[in-house]
Amino acid sequence: MNDLISAIVVLIVITNFLLLGAGWLRASIRIVALQGFALGLLPLLVNQDGLTVRLAIIATLVITLKGIVFPRLLLRSLRELSSVRAITYYVGPMPSLLIGILVMSSSLWWGYVLPLPDQTGHRFAIPMVFFTIVTGLFLIVARRQALMQIIGYLTLENGIYAVGVFFAQSESMLIEIGILLDVFVGVFIMGIMVFHISREFDNIETGQLRTLRDWIKSRKELPSKDPQA
């Protein structure tokens, strides 16, 4: 059982690296789906009591939402942005990968400093969780497109979910389902927002949103132009 857990932990770390090095939006969506799928399997393996109805429901929900529904939603909004394919960067894929290696190494240290309260968890659980969370945050900061920020958000959420899996094994099902609902609504709304941004500005570059400043500037300039105001 422990081998399977470490295989999944390694798989999640590899998906993080793939996300950092990815060059295409479609590929990133697929990778984040794979990560969600792997995460969905985790609670089934980590729990010592074996398979319970509660676990089965949560695993099914997580796999359906993170592995199928979210990627579908994102792929659909990607289809609507027919001209956008490649990821644009503030920090390119090469430095991103190098930063990823550094973060992974330093998160090992976090694993030593913050051990799990009981020894049930896998020894690489905490480093993997930190690496996933930081990857998500990094993707939000270092990629230009709004769609990549949703993917970063999903990665971040995956990391936080993994903390729950290892840390709080007897969490209430109501809370887990509530969080999943929140994430679902979040992704849904962000997808709609990306669609509207792309329709309004012809692209989804977050840097371009700076042009909104022109509106403020023009409002300030208005009184001087218009003597009646």
């Binding site: 990968l97 290696i101 992974m104 190494s105 090992l108 690489f124």
Partner: protein
């Protein structure tokens, strides 16, 4: 430890059979493309033809240009002495030989690069610059991966590291990750397709071929033979990392496994070359850093 006899036989086998590997790769590519392709022994024909010819040296070149191919071949043979094959130890095995292996390969590359720069051709300088840029990412990945395995097997010698990981080693996951990294390095070091196209003669895309354009006759034969030996060397490394623990199996099992493994690896390379395009030059460092990330991950898994 096995007798030195089998190590000797393996070394001679590598020297004799290695030029068959480019033949297998080219034959696989030809079959995938629906052609008959060149004979399996084409690399031997090329090498013998080139050795019979005379060499032409430009008046602008110095002794470095003549030394390049010789040092290249000699250092690759030294590397070959260090890599174990089919479960028996290498001919030269001592603590820390994995570092010597990486440095021997580095020296081989260094002299080819010097020879290329010595011609004074800006074209070859471009190839040399690309080669060393990629080497910058290949070498750390190779070293870190080997160190991860060395930690896992508690041995500092390649002969103790390879073919001993076994099932217990695989369950940690580190050898699998290093094997993945090594496959990428195998393609990069032997200038195969996702990194470099061995068939191309277009200046924008060439890396290795452009550096050896000015070599002729026996010098070029040395370079081609060195390339074949390097295919064998990296193949033996990859098979050694990916194989289960076979040190206790019967001799026929071990030999069959290793030789079949190298042949299968060449076929796999042929399939990779037929099914994917060369990566853009800017994307290659990403691939190599990705391989490095796999190695570092393996090291962390072993150390943690």
């Amino acid at each position: 430890m096995r007798s030195n006899l089998s190590s000797m036989v393996h070394f001679l086998l590598a020297l004799i059979v290695a030029p068959l590997l480019p033949g297998i790769i080219n034959r696989t590519k030809a079959l995938m493309a629906g052609r008959n392709g060149q004979p399996l022994l084409q690399a031997y024909f090329d090498i013998f033809k080139l050795i019979r010819k005379g060499a032409v040296y430009s008046r602008t070149t110095s002794w470095l240009f003549r030394a390049g191919p010789m040092v290249n071949l000699a250092t690759i043979i030294v590397g070959l002495l260090l890599v174990p094959f089919a479960g028996s130890p290498a001919l030269l095995a001592f603590d820390g030989d994995l570092i010597l292996l990486v440095y021997a390969l580095g020296l081989a590359r260094f002299f080819i690069v010097l020879a290329a720069l010595d011609t004074g051709s800006s074209f070859e300088g471009m190839g040399a610059s690309r080669e060393v840029t990629f080497a910058l990412m290949v070498e750390p990945a190779l070293l870190v991966g080997l160190f991860a395995l060395s930690r896992l097997s508690q041995s500092m010698s390649l002969s103790g590291i390879l073919y001993t990981s076994g099932v217990t080693g695989w369950s940690v996951g580190a050898p699998a990750l290093v094997a993945g990294a090594l496959f990428v390095l195998y393609l990069a070091e032997n200038s195969r397709i996702p990194v470099d196209d061995p068939n191309t003669h277009l200046e924008l895309t060439m890396i290795h071929e452009v550096m050896v354009l000015d070599h002729s006759g026996p010098d070029f034969a040395f370079i081609q033979y060195g390339g074949a030996l390097k295919l064998w060397l990296f193949g033996a490394l990859f098979i050694g990392v990916a194989s289960p623990n076979i040190t206790d199996a019967s001799i026929w099992m071990r030999e069959g496994f290793a030789i079949g493994g190298i042949a299968l690896l060449s076929i796999a390379v042929g399939v990779v070359e037929s099914s994917m395009a060369r990566l853009r030059l800017l994307k290659v460092p990403q691939l190599l850093v990705g391989a490095g990330a796999l190695s570092v991950l393996a090291a962390i898994l072993v150390l943690g």
